[in-house]
């Protein structure tokens, strides 16, 4: 479903992605972890071309993302993206946030979009917050609206860029719970996160990145108990101690 072939990316002089080869299958949940600045966010931002790559190929749903002639607008509608900072539209209510794209991109009628929006917001546990503005919601609630916004486009893929990093600890779980349910329903997901509990429990594979390289990728059991690379071992020892 998602395939990286020899992908390189530079920010000016900085080589942020080095020869990435990666394949994610339909209904697979891949967790990407690694120290900050290792290129994991950049990796998933390349998938819907929020960032462009300089070398290599990215193929999503048989569409060539690396090819500048590919119409990304259509492809992006198939890919939900959840940001660390939520990025909800502050001038719109929760319901307006989730219905905008279905109405404008998919040309769904207002009524159908709102019915669906209500259904999805209910699914993420926010049925009583439909008409609240983002500023009136807690961080965890905002992030769940952001996930609902992605889901309302009925995406084939969901990408999560550190979805819980900006949240207070007591709110992390409500967001992870929504993501667990999604994984159970068979959504194809790539999740950049430091939540190793989530990785162990939900993911099919865990990838470790460092200095723009994909160091290791393995099923969680193997990844956590028998990491192959020294750098993975070092990283795990640092984050699993507390």
């Amino acid at each position: 479903m998602i395939e990286f072939k020899g992908v390189h990316k530079w920010f000016g002089e900085l080589h942020v992605l080095k020869n990435i080869d990666l394949k994610v299958d339909t209904a697979e949940v891949l967790v990407v972890c690694g120290p900050s600045g290792s290129g994991k966010s950049t990796l998933i931002r390349c998938i819907n071309r929020l960032e462009t790559i300089q070398k290599g190929e990215i193929i999503v749903n048989s569409a060539k993302v690396h090819d500048s002639r590919t119409n990304m607008t259509k492809l992006r509608a198939e890919i939900g993206f959840v940001f660390q900072q939520f990025n909800l539209y502050p001038h719109m209510t929760a319901l307006q946030n989730v219905t905008l794209a279905p109405m404008k991109v998919r040309k769904v009628s207002k009524k159908d979009a709102e019915d669906q929006g209500r259904y999805v917001l209910e699914k993420v546990g926010l049925v009583d917050k439909l008409h609240q503005y983002p500023a009136q919601l807690s961080g965890g609630q905002q992030q769940r609206v952001a996930i609902a916004r992605g889901l309302c486009m009925r995406p084939k893929i969901m990408l999560f860029d550190e979805p819980t990093s900006a949240l207070d600890p007591e709110m992390i779980n409500e967001v992870l719970e929504v993501m667990r349910n999604l994984a159970r329903e068979g959504m194809t997901m790539i999740v950049v996160t430091h939540e190793m509990g989530f990785a162990r429990e939900v993911s099919h594979r865990v990838a470790f990145m460092d200095y723009g390289e994909l160091i290791e990728i393995a099923p969680p059991g193997e990844f956590f108990s028998r990491p192959k690379s020294e750098r993975t071992k070092l990283f795990l020892s640092k984050i699993l101690t507390h």
Partner: protein, 248 residues
């Protein structure tokens, strides 16, 4: 504009003349001024027409330029930036002379009215362009990324996500700029457009009471500008409340 020196402000009167005579003269001048009131209103109408037309067109062009200036294309950005800097850095009087007196040298002959509207529209566009692009750039980039990732195209992003947020930043200074531009429109009197300032110049030659005549001119500008000044400051108050509930 022939006028005898020294009487523009009404000092040609003999300072030792009896008070009663001076009182009489004042009454006479005020009556004269009342008689030329229709002339003043005509001038006010011309001021309103020149600035109204220019502001409407300048707003449209300014929003287009401002959006382009806030976009990614470097060449477009540099071109618009250079033009707005040039216009903002030169006196409007000179610009209007260039349009009216120098363009005919290149075969573009213009009446005073269209010349005035063109020059003022251009000036308005440049100032409004800066206000609009600053407003657009004040919207956090994450908003555009979120809109992009849901599949909205460039125009939809601008229309539904960026502009509604940018307008909060744009509106108060925009209305303030309108006030400045309406006042700048007085410069068009220099090329013979009979606006309210020009009416003042013409009237003061018949009624040598500068204070009286230009007091009326000022009052007429004030009548147009004051509501806008009030509007601008109330917008500023309203907009600054906005999303203050928002958590960072």
């Amino acid at each position: 504009m022939k006028r005898r020196t020294g009487n523009a402000c009404g000092f040609s009167l003999d300072p030792w003349a009896p008070r009663t005579l001076r009182k009489l003269m004042w009454g006479f001048y005020i009556e004269q001024l009342m008689h030329s009131l229709p002339f003043f209103l005509k001038g006010l109408w011309m001021t309103a027409a020149v600035s109204g037309l220019s502001l409407i067109m300048g707003t449209v062009i300014g929003f287009i330029w401002g959006t382009m200036r806030a976009s990614r294309s470097r060449i477009v950005k540099a071109l618009i930036g250079a033009w707005t800097d040039l216009i903002r850095g030169t006196p409007f009087l000179v610009q209007i002379f260039i349009v009216f007196f120098i363009l005919p040298e290149f075969g573009i002959q213009l009446e005073a009215f269209p010349a005035a509207v063109i020059a003022l529209t251009n000036l308005a566009s440049c100032f409004i362009c800066e206000i609009v692009s600053a407003g657009i750039l004040a919207v956090p980039p994450g908003q555009r990324e979120a809109a992009t990732s849901t599949g909205l195209n460039w125009f939809q992003q601008l229309r539904y996500v960026i502009m509604p947020q940018a307008m909060r930043v744009i509106l108060p200074p925009l209305v303030g700029q309108y006030v400045l531009l309406i006042k700048d429109s007085s410069v068009v009197s220099a090329i013979g457009v009979i606006d309210v300032t020009r009416v003042g110049w013409l009237t003061v030659q018949r009624i040598p009471q500068g204070l009286l005549v230009f007091g009326l001119v000022a009052a007429l500008y004030f009548v147009i500008c004051y509501p806008l000044i009030k509007l601008s400051s109330s917008l500023e108050k309203r907009m600054s409340v906005g999303y203050s509930r928002e958590k960072e």
